[in-house]
C-alpha cells in the first residue's frame, strides 16, 4: 500500500513524502527534496564568469577565462555528486533494524543500517540550527547502562521537513517499535 503527500521543509521548499506499507512490520518513508533550480544555477554561473571576466580585464591573461569555465564545470559535477541529495529514505523492519538511504543527484547512493538490538527509540528532538528546528532522530542503546543513551543519529538531515511531516513518520515508527517491544518482551 502506498500513498504520497506533500509537505514543506524548514526553508519553505516543497517536499514529497511517500509512505509504503509493505506489511504490518515493515514500512518505508521516502522524502524527495526540491530539485536543483535553473535560476540558482544560472545565478552562480553568471557571478563566477563575471568575476573571471573582471579579473581578465585587470590582468589580460586569457587563462583566467578557461580556468573559470573549468572550475564551473568541476564545481557543478562535484556539487551534484557529493552535496545535492535528491531523496532520503527510511526503512523500518520490525525485528531486523532501521536503514537510511540518501541518493544524490548524480545517482550515487549511500546507505546506513542500524540493527534493532541497538535501537532504543525514535524521537522528535528540538535543537538550535540558526533557529529552533524539530528533527527526527534515532537513539541508540548504551551497552554499559540499561537506560542510557550512547548516540544520537539524526535522520532526514538534508530534507529537513517540518513538524507535521515528522509527526506522521514518528507515529508510524512508534507503532512498529511498540509492536517490536511487545514481541521481544514476551519470549
Amino acid at each position: 500500500m502506498e500513498d504520497e503527500r506533500s509537505f514543506s521543509d524548514i526553508c519553505g521548499g516543497r517536499l514529497a513524502l511517500q509512505r509504503r506499507y509493505y506489511s504490518p512490520s515493515c514500512r518505508e518513508f521516502c522524502l524527495s527534496c526540491p530539485r536543483l533550480s535553473l535560476r540558482s544555477l544560472t545565478a552562480v554561473t553568471c557571478t563566477v564568469w563575471l568575476a573571471a571576466y573582471g579579473l581578465f580585464t585587470l590582468c589580460e591573461n586569457s587563462m583566467i577565462l578557461s580556468a573559470a569555465i573549468f572550475i564551473t564545470l568541476l564545481g557543478l559535477l562535484g556539487y551534484l555528486h557529493f552535496v545535492k541529495i535528491d531523496q532520503e529514505t527510511l526503512l523500518i523492519i520490525d525485528s531486523l533494524g532501521i536503514q537510511m538511504t540518501s541518493s544524490y543527484a548524480s545517482g550515487k547512493e549511500s546507505t546506513t543500517f542500524i540493527e534493532m538490538g541497538k535501537v532504543k527509540d525514535v524521537v522528535i528532538n528540538e535543537a538550535i540550527y540558526m533557529k529552533v528546528i524539530y528533527y527526527l532522530c534515532i537513539l541508540l542503546k548504551d551497552p554499559m547502562e540499561p537506560h542510557g543513551i550512547s548516540q544520537v543519529v539524526p535522520v532526514f538531515q538534508s530534507a529537513k521537513p517540518r513538524l507535521d511531516c515528522l509527526i506522521e513518520v514518528y507515529r508510524s515508527c512508534q507503532e512498529i517499535l511498540a509492536h517490536q517491544k511487545a514481541t521481544s518482551a514476551s519470549p
Binding site: I124, E126, C137, L139, V152
Partner: protein, 128 residues
C-alpha cells in the same frame, strides 16, 4: 543568611559620590593633558607624561574593541551550540544521576528531568 536587596544605603551613596567625583576629575585631567601644549606642561615641571599620540589612540582602540566584540560574541555563540547529533541535546550529567524518590499518591511529584521518549509520547501520540 544575609538579605541582599537593591535598596539605597548610606554606604552606597558615599561610594556613588566618590565614583562621580573621581570620574569627573579624571575626565578634566585627560582634557587638560590632551589640549595644553607640551611646552606649557614642561614649564610647569610636568615632563614625564605619556605622548599625546595616546590621547587619540586609546579611544580609537576602545571603540574598535567594542565593534569587534559584537562579531566575536556572535562567533562564540555559534561555536558553542551543540551539533544536531550531539548527546548534549538530549541529556546531561545532572539528569543521568538524578535520584528517584517515592512519593505518596495524591501528592505533587517532585521536580525531575523527564526522559525524551515520555515527552514525545505525551506530545505526539496522545492527541488522537
Amino acid at each position: 543568611m544575609v538579605e541582599y536587596s537593591p535598596s539605597p544605603l548610606p554606604e552606597r551613596a558615599i561610594y556613588g559620590f566618590v565614583l562621580f567625583l573621581s570620574s569627573q576629575f579624571g575626565f578634566i585631567l585627560y582634557l587638560m593633558w590632551a589640549f595644553i601644549p607640551e611646552s606649557w606642561l614642561n614649564s610647569l615641571g610636568l615632563t614625564y607624561w605619556p605622548q599625546k599620540y595616546w590621547a587619540i589612540a586609546l579611544p580609537v582602540y576602545f571603540f574598535i574593541t567594542i565593534v569587534t566584540d559584537y562579531v566575536l560574541l556572535f562567533g562564540i555563540n555559534m561555536m558553542s551550540t551543540s551539533p544536531l547529533n550531539s548527546i548534549h541535546t538530549i541529556i546531561d550529567n545532572y539528569a543521568k544521576n538524578q535520584q528517584q524518590k517515592k512519593y505518596p499518591e495524591e501528592a505533587i511529584p517532585a521536580l525531575r528531568d523527564i526522559p525524551i521518549s515520555e515527552v514525545n509520547q505525551m506530545f505526539f501520540l496522545a492527541t488522537k
